[in-house]
């Protein structure tokens, strides 16, 4: 017997922790890691929902989320490398070229 309610609560907590990481960290790589954490929280929700309804569709969506996360990491890391090469740092407070 698996307490599915607690699985949903766990994924919510993981998502909030990832969101807090995006907001408090200044290193681009740490922000990417927090985004990974949030994606995994979403995956846990999808898989727990698939277990609740005993069908496969939630798991298939989680599979596609994984594929998209892999592509996102490749592009994000390339941008981080480019940022480090141009600015000499990965601190997001120092990147002000777009006057943001």
């Amino acid at each position: 017997m698996i307490p599915l309610a607690h699985a949903f609560l766990l994924s919510g907590a993981l998502f909030v922790i990832g969101l807090a990481g995006v907001m408090i960290r200044r290193n681009v790589l740490m922000i990417l890691l927090s985004i990974e954490l949030m994606m995994n929280a979403a995956n846990l929700t999808l898989i727990a929902a698939a277990a609740k309804h005993a069908d496969l569709h939630g798991q298939m969506v989680a599979f596609f989320v994984m594929v998209i996360a892999a592509a996102e990491v490749a592009v994000g890391l390339a941008i981080a490398v480019l940022l480090f090469r141009n600015e000499g740092s990965v601190d997001t407070d120092l990147v002000k070229n777009l006057k943001g």
Binding site: M1, I2, P3, L4, A5, H6, A7, L10, A13, L14, I17, G18, A20, G21, I24, R25, R26, N27, L29, M30, L32, L33, S34, E36, L37, N40, N43, L44, I47, A48, A50, A51, K52, A54, D55, L56, Q59, M60, A62, F63, F64, M66, V67, I68, A70, A71, E72, V73, A74, V75, L77, A78, A80, V81, L82, F84, R85, N86, S89, V90
Partner: protein, 176 residues
């Protein structure tokens, strides 16, 4: 036994997720995230997603996070500490509390509709997932290959551009 495993690895996942956002060195935070992924893999297994658990283990812990580790170590920014809480201000805390109070009713409504404990049968076996992937989800599955190809192209293009320009610049200088 199953619920003990569930709670143990849930606690491990929460703890390592907290470590991910609080450790100041990127390498250590990354290792904490790997621990989080491993405990999430066990949770996926318990929730009946066998194939996804293995894919998660291989793709995330084996490929994505090792790619992160390579980038952190190759750039040499693992050792450089960026102060953690320099963005924090107390006015933000008040705003956060206000918005939390606004969201409280929605959270309480969601609590009332949560499902109870139930026995989970493994539905995500390799045979079932393969059958679904190549029948119902054939078009999205083919499109993901296109997506990954575009991702590889853009990553190589982004990371390679600067060095190619640097080479031409150096060649120009040597000609001068």
């Amino acid at each position: 036994m199953v619920s003990f495993l569930f709670y143990f690895f849930s606690a491990l996942a929460l703890l390592s997720a907290l470590l991910v956002i609080t450790l100041s060195r990127p390498t250590r935070a990354l290792l904490a995230l790997i621990l989080c992924m491993l405990s999430l893999t066990v949770l996926y297994l318990l929730l009946g997603a066998e194939f996804l658990a293995m894919v998660h283990l291989i793709v995330y812990a084996g490929a994505v996070l090792v790619l992160f580790l390579f980038v952190i170590m190759l750039l040499g920014i693992g050792a450089k500490d960026i102060p953690l809480f320099s963005r924090f201000r107390f006015s933000y805390l008040i705003l956060a509390l206000l918005s939390s109070v606004l969201f409280l009713p929605f959270i309480l409504i969601a609590f009332q509709s949560l499902p109870g404990p139930q026995t989970v049968f493994p539905t995500g076996t390799l045979a079932a997932v393969g059958k679904a992937l190549f029948s119902d989800y054939l078009l999205p599955f083919e499109l993901t290959s296109l997506l990954l190809l575009i991702g590889v192209f853009s990553a190589v293009g982004l990371a390679k551009k600067e060095s190619a320009e640097g080479e031409t610049r150096q060649q120009g200088r040597s000609c001068e």
